[in-house]
Symmetry: none
Subunit: 222 residues, 4 copies
Amino acid sequence: MTADPETKLRADARRNRDQIIAAAKEMFAAQGPDVPMEEIARRAGVGVGTLYRRFPDREALIRAVAQHNFALVLEEARAAAREEPSAWQALVRLLRQSRELRLSVQLALVSPLAWTILRNDAKTQEFRDAILDVLDGIVRTAQQDGTLRTDIGTGDVAVLVSLLLRRIPFAPDEDLLLDRALTLILDGLSARQGSPLPGAPTSAFDLMRAKHSRKEAPPGCA
Amino acid sequence: MTADPETKLRADARRNRDQIIAAAKEMFAAQGPDVPMEEIARRAGVGVGTLYRRFPDREALIRAVAQHNFALVLEEARAAAREEPSAWQALVRLLRQSRELRLSVQLALVSPLAWTILRNDAKTQEFRDAILDVLDGIVRTAQQDGTLRTDIGTGDVAVLVSLLLRRIPFAPDEDLLLDRALTLILDGLSARQGSPLPGAPTSAFDLMRAKHSRKEAPPGCA
Amino acid sequence: MTADPETKLRADARRNRDQIIAAAKEMFAAQGPDVPMEEIARRAGVGVGTLYRRFPDREALIRAVAQHNFALVLEEARAAAREEPSAWQALVRLLRQSRELRLSVQLALVSPLAWTILRNDAKTQEFRDAILDVLDGIVRTAQQDGTLRTDIGTGDVAVLVSLLLRRIPFAPDEDLLLDRALTLILDGLSARQGSPLPGAPTSAFDLMRAKHSRKEAPPGCA
Amino acid sequence: MTADPETKLRADARRNRDQIIAAAKEMFAAQGPDVPMEEIARRAGVGVGTLYRRFPDREALIRAVAQHNFALVLEEARAAAREEPSAWQALVRLLRQSRELRLSVQLALVSPLAWTILRNDAKTQEFRDAILDVLDGIVRTAQQDGTLRTDIGTGDVAVLVSLLLRRIPFAPDEDLLLDRALTLILDGLSARQGSPLPGAPTSAFDLMRAKHSRKEAPPGCA
DNA sequence: CATGAATGAGTCTTCATTCAT
DNA sequence: CATGAATGAAGACTCATTCAT
């Protein structure tokens, strides 16, 4: 639909671009978003010059990596909605898959720098909204099916997703731990029960609202 | 009970030390653990030299801030265990309070650098273990009271705590959202119900195990 | 025959490298081995960055300068051995030339820092040994010719060489003074006479032995 | 004769002063004249404040250490002249002793910084001249005795002394090596023989001349 | 007076970005 | 168009010196 930079590139140039994004993704994951540009270039097997030709500065690279990741998540979400027999199962898969995407996504969430950059990036927001859209469909259907509590909204689910994307400090066997946490959370989501929740169901729109307050630093920034 | 470096310091030196930690805490929170040392010094109202006299390098400062924060959390946990009428309520308070400590704690969790530093810091580990100890008492009591699921362990609860310590990307009204998430999670923890969980209850000890594998980089590091 | 780092460099890079070494040599001589890197860079007509690209730190630069100098001395020694009609004359020329190399060599001998660095540098040791080798040939021949005392060894001569490499404090007309000292010393070396010497002739090997005790600080270090 | 700062000091203050000079002498010898002032203070067992009360800055400390050392050398020279049966033997002892004073003196000769400071220090010059004076007496007498070559002057001897004050780079068994070198040099000095020397005998005055060109940087300085 | 805390200027070193080859 | 060399600004850290306790 959109993706200009991905089209119209000579084969080799295209390959370079992909290698750079892959390299950056790994290094961002491992060392945070301030790894030296030169190291990214080296890992990608190109010179710095080439990197800079493709991405004019670090911000552009961060944006590109984030978009790339969000696109994968969106793909996954659509596949879940499409392929799973029930909305609840789609939800389960989504939460679980998201966790698997953790390693590639979290990079973008980790640093206040990246945070600010992405908050102001239109394309990233579009992806996010598209993902929320898909999630919204799943949530509503699950609630109609009677499998999901009706006192919650898509936003609430999104929040839980985002929590599950993080690393656990110092933990051995992180995967199993997160798997168990996921199950506990799903139990909290199921229709069977109900502590009263504070506030009103948080809609997808509530989260999208965020984009109206562009240019803001993350809360807590000086 | 308290650490050595905190005692036996001339009055003014002591005050400086405190101001530096406070300043670092805020700036780490706002900008991540790589804010210029000079800015921290400025915010603390001292010269860089003073900062370096007290903390020989950035690592030492990060450690000090982390220890300071963990001490607060431990204090809170003990207060909750002591003052609340039931273990369940202690647990609820703990989860909620921890969330309030979020801003000060997360700083330490955010960067791969900080991660590695703290993973290898003995004093930090001691604090963590002490906190897990308190939590362990609460969890066992709540399970005996029949308010907490018995197929989970202290470690599982700790994981949920740590998840709730994070920021939510792009979210407006973060506090309300996390409050709702907390409630959902508590519902998942309550004794009323039970999806089968993968693995066995994760004990406090399971998490403490981590300390045996010192010196390791965070998983994902190259 | 020549070192690796000197080859395969783009023409301009190579020129820069040479200029940096020349500049460092002069400034080390004039101000000691702790002149600001930036001044060296300025004198070489490059930015600091360039200097650091070529020599990762001060130590590397010191090593490079020392190797460069030792290579010159070795060249000189070989020329003397090759071109002079007698071994004695080669010896005289060597002692005299060495004195001329004083300005460039002494820099490396002056500071405890440089001392330690070079003592642990393999390439520097190789050069030193090669020089001793040439000297050894000259010494033995001169002794067979009956022009050089036979109760001394190559090491003894080397010691005298190294003494003549130094500056004389506060002296006006340093060159003439050293020239006279050199003559006096040569008189002491000539076969004509002989006070008994303490110990046995010091061989080249005796000096090379030093390399077995690597990593040692200069005698006198705390 | 002169020494004001050494008089009129309370006993403890005096002891402090001595300890500081001793500490500085050792550290200058071991690490060069730019060791941190604080380390000198620590080794002397006093606070920096005390050090600075006694010596307003590094230069003053360097001067004090140098004067202290020169005073020792002067003492030695006088003792040699007074106690030895012949001038030649006094000369031998002087050269040998000087070598023993090496460790304490060389510190002052090592760095271009110290060099410049001392060259401009009147008291240091006085000491040097007094030493040359004593040496001059010895030299003249030895020449009259017919034991010392007459084509050399006191300055020539002084140059040889100063050469023997240095360290030998990388050498094992430095002491024996210098002992042998000393003997060779003495052989060059003895009256028995005579290569023609360049220039004229260098008098003590020739060396003293240096003080007329105050404020000059060491030859070779930028 | 002694002490050691505070200050800040001075260096080293790194890295984003530009540009010649 | 790719490369990697050059640049210089920015930040870490040290240490001489001053000054409050």
